[in-house]
Subunit: 211 residues, 3 copies
């Protein structure tokens, strides 16, 4: 859990989420400066909430490089998308899944460093992973991903459990990250590709029973 690892993970996560936010703005035909606002909120929202909850300095104020890389990734996406007219939803889902997985790991680690227990650390990972995308969906008036019957928060939870398991058996730190990253991205993309879903409630069945 060295500071360099953390910074690299963070900059990667921020860049992926910036691209995902800018691509959603493109998909929704937000043609003005609003696309920068949406992409910035997506990239920084989850980590900002995590730092507020843990009462730490906000990461992009303490380390402005995060803010600069957000703006750079957004501007780069805006330019590149002009020459790649066939960019579509698939790229959005891919970068969104990787960004979410990286943020999930950063949330867990920053909580553990702050001295919380594992249940709170996993909760903080999910918060960091899904909150930016949740605000983005609310602002863009999309049905939030977390409300759809697809693994999203649960992909973060699974990645968090893998992290906790590997952390407990004390494998090398890099394997905690890779294991968690792979689990979250695999579950998220796999579910979208093969249509996996997790059903807790089955309201319709009850309705049918009572008919």
């Amino acid at each position: 859990m060295t500071a360099e690892y953390f910074m690299v993970l963070g900059l990667l996560g921020v860049a992926f989420f910036s691209v995902a936010g800018a691509l959603l703005g493109y998909e929704k035909s937000i043609s003005g400066f609003g696309v920068v606002v949406v992409a910035t909120v997506t990239a920084l929202g989850g980590g900002t909430l995590r730092d507020i909850l843990l009462d730490k300095p906000i990461f992009w104020i303490a380390t402005p490089e995060y803010l600069y890389s957000t703006y750079a990734a957004i501007i780069a996406t805006i330019f590149f998308v002009r020459y790649l007219p066939h960019v579509n939803n698939y790229y959005f889902l891919l970068v969104d899944a990787i960004g979410m997985a990286l943020f999930n790991i950063m949330g867990i680690e920053k909580a553990l460093i702050s001295g919380t227990g594992m249940v709170i650390a996993i909760t903080m990972g999910i918060t960091t992973g899904i909150f930016g995308g949740l605000i983005r969906d609310v602002i863009c008036r999309e049905v939030p991903s977390v409300m759809r019957n697809e693994p999203y928060a649960s992909a973060c939870l699974a990645g968090g459990l893998v992290y906790a398991a590997l952390f407990t058996i004390e494998v090398d730190y890099i394997w905690c990250i890779l294991g968690s990253l792979f689990t979250t991205v695999f579950l998220r993309l796999g579910s979208l590709h093969w249509g996996w879903h997790l059903t807790i409630f089955r309201k319709k069945d009850f309705k049918n029973q009572s008919d």
Copy 2:
């Protein structure tokens, strides 16, 4: 205002709001893990905002029992609702009203303990009482309760004024709680049953006048 009272009130409020959040997820047929996210946000959102505003440690991080009881109440609701197919909107409104009233009281008390004046304490009570439900409604794309022409924030305000009045005449602490709790729950449920509403603006009347 002893710590034990406070903890009991808090755990009760968190449990009621967890149940209310899970029942709304059930009503809206959110079948996946999203229901846990929605119920957790509902249960912890208002108190989290209160602690952020008052610059106190977030209650469910400082005292993880709150987080555990949130998860326990959500899981219990998910299991019980399978055997109670006729659970309906009425139960949701009841537990939501009690949760809101308890959170209103906790918001007022935590603000007063922090040394704020009564106007800010009542504002903080309303914030604690309505904010979790407001985020829940926004995520679930419901018309927020606070926007409907029913006592909601105003039920919290009335409960807050009763608390302030009883607090000022220095009756025993338990009566401040019970008086405020009864006022808020009575106004909220009474209004839903008998159709009371509070009208500040009457835009239609003006329109008719100017026709």
Copy 3:
């Protein structure tokens, strides 16, 4: 950047945004107490987020006069609007633009006082300027202004760049404020009047090309 200037700017900004929030409630026919909640969130939301991010005491808790002037402006609007049935969207846009411009300046200044660099200060100005209105639009289920193809966040950005330029050439403090205020209000209202807009993406053009 004296404290008196700051307080006057702040009270003006809060009052303008309270009026804008109450007028939107009137337009949307929110007839109950919800209009007070919406107007309060509009008036205090942006500055509250700024203070949370900068880890400063929340301005309306540290200086309750802001909260009192919010409530006073809301109550005054509610009363006056009864005798001014022809109040319309134009007044709303005017007070909203002035409130946004004042909040933009306050955000920049409070960040600079906290010792941040200019990029973060301008980001904080935009946050303070648009966040209250953004929450208001989300709660009222309006398409957020920031999503429409009109200068909104970009009017704040322009005002921030003017502030930064005048600040750098060390003109008298009052000119930084007036220059930024005029720029933001002029861009916002001018764009609405003359239909200016800023286009970053042109999705339709790409679509046509690929047809």
